[in-house]
């Protein structure tokens, strides 16, 4: 029974990724600059980001990055994730205790601060979520995280 469940999850996750990737391809044919910067992201960074995601993010944002309706916002296709890095880093460092609207839907659960994570781990997990679940955006660096620690 459990094996079936797991396979199903993986299948769902893979199909989400593939669909999103295909959509992305058609949208940004000319966006070679973004593609180039993403291509520079190392496998080690993504692997560590994925590990941190599994330890600190997955319970609320889910295996699929789709979140939970009305409660935990999706990371897939979210402008909060692929947009302004400063804002994104601050959410991870300080948490978020207000309703957020993502793509027309409202989410209300509190996000706790994740400031116990190392700068490099925060950088890697943000790079990972910015380049997973169909997202594509530039990497986040440890120095960018460090510069924002303690700033509300």
């Amino acid at each position: 029974m459990r094996a079936i469940f797991k396979t199903a999850i993986i299948a769902a996750a893979v199909s989400t990724t593939l669909t999103a990737a295909a959509q992305h391809k058609s949208k940004t044919k000319s966006g070679s600059k973004a593609a180039k910067s993403s291509a520079l992201i190392s496998a080690a960074t993504l692997a560590n980001g994925q590990k941190v995601y599994g330890q600190s993010c997955i319970t609320c944002h889910m295996v699929t990055g789709l979140g939970v309706p009305n409660m935990n916002p999706p990371l897939a296709g979210s402008p909060f994730v692929t947009g302004d890095k400063t804002k994104l880093i601050k959410i991870v460092l300080n948490g978020l205790s207000e309703d957020v609207e993502v793509n027309g839907q409202t989410y209300s659960n509190n996000m706790p601060s994740q400031d116990y994570l190392k700068d490099q781990d925060i950088a890697d997990v943000l790079t990972y979520v910015r380049n997973n679940f169909g997202n594509k955006a530039t990497a986040v660096t440890a120095s960018e995280v460090k510069a924002l620690r303690g700033k509300k």
């Binding site: 797991k6 593939l18 496998a43 319970t59 295996v63 409660m71």
Partner: protein, 428 residues
């Protein structure tokens, strides 16, 4: 290239952070003994039949059905300025929208003594009904209770009435476990949890007095983190509630709880309440595998220490995180005898089990005997999610929320995801 890497990443995802746990399932003792049939996308015991009587009506939360067959559905968010939808079933088994009113979102709705009661996330209103149980003046409800706390978490105010002129309102705790910092890793519990003064319990108010505040009511029972499903048991003349147990044992205390334990614990509990009862949140949770009240880690617990305090035991316990949003004691004559006076529970479905597969998205039947849960619970109506894969990933098509019994003994199930109303009947 990148996509391939990402896919590979996802494929390997299930391998990480699984350091623990026996392979067997978690005290999930539900048994499916009967043959099942498929009907309107649901899986039901043989002899039952489901129909979708309405679809896309909005975020359908709780539901009340009149003896004349009108159906009042409370919407989580008002749609086109209407937070209560009135449906009427035609001969073809489809319901049409008869009217709508009440410009407020919310969850609770209940009919008693010639009034329709409905709640927003802060207030309770009532509407006078005529002799056909139709709302006489939809634009002028009486404000019965106002100013209940709403801090965005566990904000829904479920309601039920007794036979002695009292209204019961759940006020959920605006917190997971009363930590100094909500859901923060390692943050400890606030001493003498102050949230319990105004939330985390059931409040009792007069059913017919206007503009009541906290001070006019009684904290009937405390130590209940969040109740969404509740019902008045007419046989026992007693309030029964379903508590949503706390989240994130592993995320907050990774040294004390494994990922798997965190997915399974704590139980979602059914409580039979008496005035003055304390169910123990946030100081304890109920462990359905050890069958014990366990001290919460925020308050010195380690997963094994038993709770200290005068806390009531649950009447029944179910696996963690499945979110019981609807409770209905069945008093009809249509269903086979075993269902009479037993409880139906709508489990909205989990999220807090990741990375373990999600669970729930079904209606459970809990047999009762002599006013007490008796025998194992069973899945009554399954597959609201649409498929096993949807259940596992949490991407459910329908999420069961409210339950009501119709005049002919059929039951109704609402779905606040797609806005569907199911009717389930027994055909001999």
């Amino acid at each position: 290239m990148l996509s391939a890497a990402v896919v590979a990443g996802l494929l390997s995802f299930k391998c990480i952070d699984h350091k623990n746990g026996p392979a067997e399932e978690n005290g999930q003792t539900a048994q499916k003994t009967e043959a099942t049939v498929e009907s309107a996308g649901l899986k039901l015991p043989a002899g039952f039949q489901a129909t979708i009587i309405a679809d896309n009506i909005g975020r359908a939360r709780h539901i009340a059905v009149t003896p004349q067959g009108d159906i009042y559905v409370k919407l989580g968010r008002a749609k086109d300025g209407k937070g209560i939808v009135v449906l009427h079933e035609g001969a073809d088994g489809k319901a049409t929208v008869k009217s709508g009113f009440g410009n407020f979102g919310g969850t609770g709705i209940y009919i008693k003594n010639g009034y329709l009661y409905a709640s927003s996330d802060e207030n309770v209103y009532r509407y006078k009904l005529n002799d056909k149980n139709e709302v006489i003046n939809p634009d002028q409800p009486e404000l019965i209770v106002e100013g209940l706390i709403n801090r965005r978490q566990h904000e829904s105010k479920s309601i039920v009435l007794d036979n002695d002129g009292n209204l019961y309102v759940n006020v959920g705790a605006y917190s997971n476990s009363c930590q100094e910092k909500d859901r923060q890793r390692g943050s400890l519990g606030r001493k003498g949890c102050p949230i319990l003064d105004s939330a985390g319990g059931i409040w009792q108010f007069k059913a017919d007095k206007q503009k009541q505040h906290y001070g006019d009511g009684v904290r009937y029972a405390t130590g209940l983190r969040n109740v969404v499903g509740l019902d008045w048991n007419q046989q026992l003349n007693q309030l029964f509630v379903m508590q949503h147990g706390r989240d994130q044992l592993h995320d907050i205390f990774p040294d004390l709880y494994t990922v798997k334990q965190s997915a399974e614990l704590p139980a979602e509990c059914m409580y039979a309440l008496k005035k003055g009862d304390n169910a123990g949140w946030p100081y304890m949770y109920y462990d359905q595998i050890q069958h014990k009240k366990i001290m919460a880690p925020e308050y010195g617990g380690d997963g094994k220490k038993e709770a200290e305090g005068n806390f009531i035991d649950p009447a029944a316990a179910y696996p963690g995180h499945m979110a019981p949003n609807g409770l209905l004691f069945y008093t009809g004559n249509q269903f086979p005898e075993k269902y009479k006076n037993g409880a139906f529970i709508a489990f909205h479905g989990s999220w807090n089990r990741a990375p373990e597969p999600q669970a729930g998205y079904f209606v459970v039947f809990q047999p009762f005997k002599n006013g007490k849960p008796s025998g194992e619970w069973e899945v009554f109506a399954d597959n609201f999610s649409g498929s096993q894969a949807n259940t596992a990933s949490g991407a459910a098509t329908h999420r069961p929320c409210g339950l009501a019994q119709g005049p002919d003994g059929s039951i109704y199930v609402t779905d606040d995801s797609k806005g569907t109303v199911f009717k389930i009947s027994y055909k001999k």
